[in-house]
Every structure is written in C-alpha cells, then in structure tokens.
C-alpha cells in the first residue's frame, strides 16, 4: 500500500511539532497543590523555561518540595531526591 507523500509529510510535521511541544512542556510534581505565589516564584526562578504549557501534578511520593521535568531533563528539589542523594553519598563512603 502506497501512502500519499503529502499526507506522509503532514503527519511527519504534526508528529515533530507534537514531540517538540512535549519536549518543551514543563511538568511540575509536588506533594500538595502549589498556590499562585509559589508558581510565580517558581517561574521567576526558572525563567529560562517555557511555562506557557506547564502542567502541575500532585505526587505524594515527593514528600515535600518539587520535581520539575522538561522533556528528558529533571530538576529534583524534593525531599525524596535529597534522601536519594544522601543514599548515594552514603554508598560512596567506604
């Protein structure tokens, strides 16, 4: 079965655009809902990120603090992350 080249190109463009959007989309995970002031402060602190299509989700495993995910990048400012870092430090100590 032959696919129309124009349709193929359109599909490709659509997917690329979607992937690009997904990659630039900011996802913030926190244990509780962040209020407006906190969100504003966060956007100010991370001004280089594109907050236009940002998504805020609640994740109880974070305990406290936040985790910011942008595409394949993760900025971990949570207590879980701190504990994980502490665990790694303890493993590195002989």
């Amino acid at each position: 079965m032959k696919i129309n080249p124009k349709l193929k190109q359109d599909l490709k463009s659509f997917l690329m655009e979607k992937i690009q959007k997904e990659q630039n989309r900011v996802l913030v995970l926190s244990a509780d809902k962040l209020d407006i002031d906190e969100r504003k402060l966060l956007e100010k602190k991370f001004s280089d990120l594109n907050w236009k299509d940002s998504v805020y989700q609640i994740d109880k495993s974070v305990i406290a603090g936040i985790i910011i995910k942008v595409g394949s990048k993760t900025i971990d400012l949570s207590l879980t992350g701190s504990l994980s870092k502490l665990s790694n430090t303890l493993y590195e100590i002989d």
Binding site: S30, A31, D32, L34, E38, L41, L42, K45, I63, A64, G65, I66, S72, K73, T74, I75, D76, L77, S78, L79, T80, L83, L86, S87, L90, Y91
Partner: protein, 169 residues
C-alpha cells in the same frame, strides 16, 4: 752232590719245573694281574684328576659367584645411592610444590575471605542505608502535615539558587 743227598736229575727237573712254573705264572697270572693293577691305578688317577678338576671348577664357580655377588653389591650400592639422591631430589621438589600449593591456597582463601568480608560489609551497609532511609522517609511522611509540607516546599523554592544538577533521562 749224591753225598749231600741231592738228586741232580730231580733238581734239574724241579728247576725246569720252577722255570716253567715261573714262566706260566708270569705269563698268565702276574702279567694280567699287573695289567689289571695298572689299569686300576690309571682309573684311580683319572678319577682323582677328574675330582680335582671338578673341585677346581667348583671353587672357580664359588669364586665367580662371590665376585658376581660383590659386583652386584657394588652395583646395588651405586644404584641405591643414586636412587636415594633421586628420592631426596623428588622429596625436595614435592616439599617445594606442596609449600607453593599451600601458599597459593592460603592466598586464595585470604582473597575469598576478603571478598566475603567486603560482600558482607556491602550487604550490611546496603541494609543499614535502606532501613535508615525508609525510617526517615516514613517518619517524614507521618510527621509532616500539609502546612509543614507547604512550608518546606516554599522554603525550597525560595532558597533555590540555581546550583542544582539537572538530570538527563
């Protein structure tokens, strides 16, 4: 001679008789007997010679046997010394090999012991870290209420200086 009472004829006859007797005895008795005696003597001498020869041969045999025994003893001594030397060499080699093996086994055991020790240390450390973190995590989850969590979150965002590591997934 008649006055002496000797009869000449009789005497002659007796003399002839004696001569004849002498000749006959000599011819038919003394000669074979002498011959027989000579033969016997010769046989005896031959027998003695043979005995002597046999004796000498026996002595030579004994002497050869003694010599052979001495030679064998010497060869045995040489071989014994040689075998003793070889055995001592082998013994030394075996001891050396056994010592090397023992050292190798000891080193291997030490290494194994060290590895087991390290493994046990890592396992215990892993368990301690996991348990400690679990206790801390559970304690934080149980002790932090919503307002405390919000305070912590606010403080984290406020105090962030942009020095955090960004992880690539």
């Amino acid at each position: 001679m008649e006055n002496l009472g000797i009869d000449g004829k009789l005497l002659l006859a007796q003399m002839i008789n004696f001569v004849l007797f002498f000749i006959l005895v000599k011819q038919f008795i003394v000669k074979p007997f002498t011959s027989f005696l000579n033969q016997e003597r010769k046989n005896e001498e031959e027998k003695n010679r043979m005995l002597e020869k046999l004796k000498r041969s026996e002595e030579a045999g004994i002497e050869a046997e003694v010599k052979m025994k001495e030679k064998m003893k010497k060869e045995f001594d040489v071989l014994f010394v040689q075998a003793k030397k070889e055995a001592q060499g082998m013994k030394a080699d075996l001891i050396k090999q056994a010592e090397a093996d023992a050292l190798e086994i000891k080193a291997k055991n030490s290494k194994l012991l060290e590895e087991e020790k390290n493994l046990l240390y890592r396992e215990v450390k892993d368990k301690i870290i996991k348990t400690s973190l679990m206790i801390v995590e559970n304690t934080l989850k149980d002790s932090l209420d919503e307002s405390s969590r919000k305070k912590v979150t606010g403080a984290i965002i406020k105090n962030y200086q942009g020095r955090l590591k960004i992880y690539e997934n």
